[in-house]
């Protein structure tokens, strides 16, 4: 069984690179049978997740199978050993290898960009000043003639960002964190109201993220203490939370509140 995480891969090429690395395969001499088998197994596990790119994974699966079968075609003995006889019989893997190598290059480049992103020097600029006091009334030149929709979008974006950036100054009151302990009682109450059973998502009617997280933590605590348990009929179906104990009293003594 493989545990395949949602969105762990950036597509079939990424998955293949991962497998090649994990199986310590030489990218220039791929054992197709092994790689295909591993790939299929992963895709099978991932298909359940209904990835948006499911079709691309399947196309790649078909490609791998095709390459594998082409490699099984009989090859004349001599060709294998004496390179002088090597003629225009391209390796069926060649195109795939090229793709993988090319993709790997950009994957690494993306990592380099990530490092740059983390270490970018932090210079702050300012929004352009309001120049209307300097403008004539009859000012007609509005835009640079090259202005296009992207400038429009960017102007909007910049404005939004500017607005977002100033938020901390205005909202100085910090939100009061709800203690996990308190939320555990609430969760149990909700469950009692619903006859001891609720769908997982119905336990999260709260809008702000901190409440969501506290509710989640409290649910984990309740599970750990076996006050509730969670059922799921099939993979990735809705979860059902079921109350096991009516009373919480003894269960709350050793909760670590993170203050």
């Amino acid at each position: 069984m493989y545990e395949v995480k949602l969105d762990a891969f950036q597509g079939p090429l990424d998955l293949l690179l991962h497998l090649i690395q994990r199986l310590e395969i030489d990218i220039y001499d791929i054992p197709m049978a092994e790689l295909t088998a591993q790939y299929m197994e992963h895709v099978r596990a991932m298909q359940v997740l209904e990835l948006e790119e499911a079709s691309e994974y399947l196309v790649m699966a078909a490609t791998l199978l095709a390459i594998k079968s082409r490699m099984l075609l009989p090859v004349h003995e001599g060709e294998m050993e004496e390179s002088e006889f090597e003629v225009e019989e391209p390796d069926p893997r060649e195109e795939l290898v090229q793709k993988l190598v090319e993709y790997k290059k950009f994957k690494e480049a993306a990592n380099e960009l990530k490092k740059l992103e983390e270490n970018a020097p932090e210079n702050f600029t300012k929004p352009p000043s309001d120049l209307s006091p300097f403008m004539q009334d009859e000012q007609l030149t509005l835009f640079n003639p090259d202005v296009n929709v992207y400038d429009l979008l960017y102007a909007f974006q910049k404005m939004l960002r500017r607005k977002q950036l100033r938020k901390p100054l205005k909202t100085t009151v910090k939100k009061q964190d709800i203690p996990v302990r308190e939320q555990m009682f609430k969760v149990v109450d909700v469950l009692k109201q619903r006859g001891g059973k609720s769908s997982f998502f119905e336990l999260f009617p709260y809008e702000d993220k901190s409440t969501l997280i506290v509710t989640f933590l409290s649910l984990l605590e309740l599970m750990k203490r076996q006050v509730v348990y969670v059922e799921q009929e099939n993979n990735f179906e809705d979860l059902t939370v079921i109350l096991q104990k009516e009373e919480l009293l003894g269960e709350l003594e050793d909760i670590d509140e993170q203050d």
Binding site: K5, L6, D7, F124, T125, K126, P127, P128, S129, D130, L131, S132, F134, M135, Q136, Q139, L140, T141, L142, F143, N144, V147, N148, V149, Y150, D151, L152, L153, A155, F156, Q157, K158, M159, L160, R162, K163, R166, L169, K209, F216, L220, M223, Y229, V230, Q232, L239
Partner: protein, 201 residues
């Protein structure tokens, strides 16, 4: 804190906020020094600007807000920028207002000003007179404020056949939440599997 360092910090803060400016109290809070020190720093900065002919900046006080601005004697230089046909900048305010209207129409002036954080009467006027935006209705409520929207001329100007051809706005909020949910689900599944393992074990 060394007074020079304090000055550099005040200057940097006033610079990034631009036209909005900051009050002495805000500066004092941000820099964690007394208001007296901030006042001294501001006045020292201003003196430096005034005494330095190579500096184009000065500090202006509007009510209780201090802002960095260009020296009055440089007004003619700045005017050139506005008059210069190829300058990107002159478009900024109008372009921003136009962008807001394009993406948020129908929208009132008050809403636009709220989004931008500055008065926007002038750019709106200019855009109306250029035929890029127009009144498309009136808001409900006492004021019956004018609602603005874009015109056909707008589509023509930007080579669009339809508003739906505007590049879509980012879904960053959504993505960020999405990621959190994913993380959340991953964590949850981990715990869930552990629980299951315990049960079956």
């Amino acid at each position: 804190m060394n007074s020079k360092i304090l000055m550099s910090r005040i200057e940097a803060l006033l610079f990034v906020v631009g036209d909005e400016g900051l009050t002495v109290k805000q500066l004092a809070d941000l820099l964690d020094v007394g208001e007296v020190d901030i006042e001294a720093g501001l006045s020292e900065l201003k003196t430096c600007y005034e005494n330095n002919p190579a500096s184009g900046l000065t500090i202006k006080q509007l009510a209780d807000t201090y802002l960095l601005t260009t020296k009055p004697e440089l007004a003619n230089t700045i005017k050139k920028l506005v008059e210069h046909p190829n300058s990107q900048v002159l478009s900024t305010a109008a372009l921003e207002v136009l962008a807001i209207i394009a993406y948020k129409q129908p929208i009132t002036r008050a809403e636009i000003e709220d989004l931008r954080g500055v008065k926007s009467e002038r750019p709106i006027q200019t855009l109306v007179s250029r035929g890029l935006i127009r009144e498309v209705g009136r808001a409900e409520g006492t004021g019956r404020a004018i609602l603005y929207g874009t015109t056909k001329e707008f589509l023509h100007y930007f080579g669009l056949s339809d508003l739906s051809e505007l590049p879509p706005l980012p879904e960053e909020e959504f993505e960020a939440e999405q990621e959190q949910t994913d993380l959340f689900m991953t964590k949850f599944q981990e715990v869930f599997q552990n629980e299951n393992a315990k049960r079956s074990g």
